[in-house]
Every structure is written in structure tokens, then in C-alpha cells.
Symmetry: C2
Subunit: 328 residues, 2 copies
Amino acid sequence: MTIRIGIVGYGNLGRGVESAVRQSPDMELAAIFSRRDPASISPLTPGLKVVSVSEAGSWKGAIDVMILCGGSATDLPTQTPEFASHFNVVDSFDTHACISDHYAAVDAAAKKANHLGIISVGWDPGLFSLNRLISQAILPQGNDETFWGKGVSQGHSDAVRRLRGVKDARQYTIPVDEALARVRSGEKPSLTARQKHLRQCYVVAEEGADRELITHEIKTMPNYFADYDTTVHFITEAELQRDHAKIPHGGFVIRSGVTGMNGQNAHVIEFSLKLDSNPEFTASVLVAYARAAYRLACQGHSGCRTVLDVAPALLDPRSAEELRRTLL
Amino acid sequence: MTIRIGIVGYGNLGRGVESAVRQSPDMELAAIFSRRDPASISPLTPGLKVVSVSEAGSWKGAIDVMILCGGSATDLPTQTPEFASHFNVVDSFDTHACISDHYAAVDAAAKKANHLGIISVGWDPGLFSLNRLISQAILPQGNDETFWGKGVSQGHSDAVRRLRGVKDARQYTIPVDEALARVRSGEKPSLTARQKHLRQCYVVAEEGADRELITHEIKTMPNYFADYDTTVHFITEAELQRDHAKIPHGGFVIRSGVTGMNGQNAHVIEFSLKLDSNPEFTASVLVAYARAAYRLACQGHSGCRTVLDVAPALLDPRSAEELRRTLL
């Protein structure tokens, strides 16, 4: 019996879930649910049903886990609790400051309907959170730092695009090698934003735009760029298409800590990701946690969970016996 | 109410547990149990009780989790099931080929007595197994490699010490940088033992010993050295004491995999450890999992678990709410 997956929202993340499910022998795609006109959507998978999201309710019983692929700003805060009333759900809610509220809303809805929800799944929050937790629990006397990149920041790219005279733009966040080396050495440096990350902007300017003004406006933009060393490169639209079409990302969680009666021995735990496609990787994490949500629900559990609460063996299609035999 | 910990076996690992428990505000050390004459043992912690292991039974009810710090070859196969009849237990059993049998024995004893046991805790098996599992579940179309070192291999050091004319020796296992780089690049190379690791031996020879013969015997020793590029350095006993007294170790688990409808996007997940003291770090992992064993037992669970079965939040003393708020 395969796990029947529904995809809610068919953007980059939804398409990533579609291809990740196809790599999962224990899963099948049931349908895509979209707010757009279903006739306007051509799934990558021939024959896969596309349904208006307003009709999702009639799919109760035909879908084991709904994977919610909308945005954290406006979609997920209402969508995840709503869908948790009818389905087991997984989402990638990533507004760090609002996770406790979102958890409470999903927990209440899921418990009432006897469903299982896992929220804030992905890599940060997600796998990075998991590694912070495990490394802090093992080395309580220590310090950890997270570095992001090299990768495209959607928020910073958007901020540049909003400037007058900018036609299109891509912003990369890049960890500073020297800072990485200092943290890895166990030095526990106190690093400013500027010392940890560089920002690199590729900008397509409109014809006749004042490039010096654009550069100045970017570099002095509060919150987004003013606290960082930022470089601005003007390129053509064709160059942007050719060289900056992918959405790579990644990063590092590094914890250093000490053990021994006098803290005489130092240890470094490092977890890192290097991703060609941020949405496809996030989707792959969502699909693994959808498997866990299904299994927890089958075991009679309900309510909300995060990656911190899920036993790792639940993520893998193999049996507990096989995992012990092959991985330990 | 603090978690009362007993330590069974007071070698390097037991001493590591002792110092790790002292970093844990929710735990206290109840006693050390040893096969040696208790009067001959001076714990690092003033006033800590040392008891003959034969009297452990009378501590039932006074200890929440026993951490078994004996060896995998002869101690743990009998000790862990035995102690699981009287206590919740955690061990670092690391004979990979025998883990399934050990699991079955501990599971039967623990279930019968309504206790909880977690076996094969440490970093390999342990944290490395966890990372293999998570990265395989997320990137099912991929390949992973484990590298060990730079670190002291006790087994290889012993093999050199057994040679005629060798007074003492230390063997380091060292990952080959080029192999690491190829795996990180996502290349999925098929690597021989020789291509993955170097072996470096520091040998104190007895007076008048034939150093050329010793070098030859090391380099051609089947299983241990013949399949590797091995270097042999002769040093004095004083140099061995001064430069090779620590027991460092570490390693890398690197998985590369692809996503997308045509596998067009590549991703690399890497987990690595750099440890000044192998036994102290292993002990710190044992102590975090002892916390999980206690909590699982309190929730009414019994039987055997491995790191693959334990939800990460159980490892940390903080509440689930605080973890969500601070780590996600």
C-alpha cells in the first residue's frame, strides 16, 4: 500500500515535491491542488490530476498526506490549520518569529480532527535546527554559528528589484571564508553580520538608468545591505538568464565545545549543505517528513510536530531492522 | 528531580561520562560500578561512591539510567542485557556485524523487566549512522561515503604493539584529501581502501630491534595495513608520551544526490566531526541518550532502541516549547 500524496500549490516547491515523490517507491502522487484555473496548469507528470483547491475537501480519504507548498507570509498561516482539519499535513513554514503561533494553530486543528501535522520542514528551519539541537545536547559547553550560502536570497533579490531603474536582479549571500575558519578552529569569535557574510548583486538596469545611484541605494539600504560588504555588478538580461537561472543555496552549522573535567578537550561538529536547487532540496525534505507524518498518524498519533520531535527512522521507507543492519 | 546516573566500568569512557554528567544540570552521578577493588579507584569527582559491580543489584530504584562503559568484545554482549533486567541502560556497542543480535538480547531483557535500553550510541555507530539515514531518506538517488580520521585507531595500534621488537606504538588513520574532494564534488567515485585512507604509525622500538624488519612487517600486515599506503616513524618513548598522548578522532559522512525530473540538480550533505578526545566525545553522546532513555521510560516505553529510533528533542534538557522557540 503506497502513501498517497497531495500537493497544494504548484510553484517551484510544488514541482520539487512532484519530482521527489517520483523517487519514492512507497509513494504515489494523487493530485495537485491550485488556486489557479486547473486547465492552465500542465504538470511535469503526464496524466497527473490538477484540481481547484476549493474542491480539496472532496478528496478526504483519497489522500494520506497533503504537502503544502505555499508561502509563509500569507498562505501557510491559514492554509496549514485549515487543511489539518481534513488531512495529515506537512509544510515548510519558515517565519522564525511566528513558529510558536503557527504550531499552536496547527496543533489545535490537527488534534481536533485526529490528524498529524509536521511544520517548518526544510533545511532552515529544518535540518539546520536538528543539527543545532543534537550538537547543543551533546556539547552543552560550547558555541554554535550558522552561515548561509553561497546562495540566492529571494528577499534580497526582491529588495533590489523594487529600486527605480532596476529591471531584474539576483542577490547571492556568501559566507566569509575567514569567519568560517575561525569558528571551525573552536575560537568562538564574536562576529558581526559584516564579518560573517558578503552580499553580491547582479543587476539588469533599465536603459538610461543611473547606475551609480542604484549602486549607492543598494549598498546603503538599511537591514538588507547597509550592515554588509556588498558588491554590485551590472549585467545584461541575457547574462542573467544564462548565468543566474538556478536557485542554489546551502550553508553551515558549526558547533565547537569542550569536554573533560577542566574543559581541556575541544570538539567541532559541522553540518553543511551545498544545493543546486533550494526549492527541490526543500521539497525532498518535505517528502521524507510526509512519510513520517503518515506513519505517526497510522500509529494513532495526532497534533503538531516539528523536525525536532520526529524519530529519524520514520523518514526512511526501509524497515527498522534493515536500517539497523545497514546503517549502524 | 534530577536524573540519577550510574557508570559501569571506569576506564577512559567511564571518566568521560563522569565529566559529561557534570555539564548536565538535570543529572547527578549516583555511583561508579567496577570489577576492580573499589578501594583502588579514585574518581575525578570528590566523594563519588565507587561500588563493586557485584553489588549493583542493590542499587535498584536508586539509579535512573546505567551507562555501560565496558568493551564491545567481551563486556557489553553479556553486561547490557543483564543490566537491562534491573535498570534503564545505554551502551556504545560498536561491533557492527553483531548489532542485530545484541539488539535482540537487550530488547528481550528490557521488555521483560519494563526497562528502556539504547544501544550502539556514540559517533560511529551513532551520529554517523543518523546522518547516513537522514541524508539517504532525503536524497534517495545518491551515494554516500564515510571517511574516518584524522584519529588514533586502537585496533591498529594494538596490532603494531604485538610485533616482536615493538615497545609501544600509535597508529593514525588519515582521510586522503583528494578522495574527500572527489566525493564532495558529487562525482560518486568508486574508491579503494588505499585511495580513501592513509595509515601513519609512530613506533617505539626496543633496543637493538630490527627497524627495517618491523617496518616491513607493518606495511605487509594483511587486513590491517597491506591494503593501505602506510608510513612508519620510529620515535623515542619520551616523544610518544609528549606528542601522542591524546586520543583524537573524527571523520566525515558525505552524501551526494540528485533531484529534479531528470536528476538535473545535484546536492551534497556533509556531516563531520573533529574530536580532541574520542572517549570523552563518545561519553557526551552516551549522556545525551541516557536523558532520552530516562524520558522514554518515564513515558511508559520499554525495550531496545538505537539512535535511529530516538526523537532528537529527547536529547536536550530544555522543554519542547523552548527548543521550538530557540532552534527552529
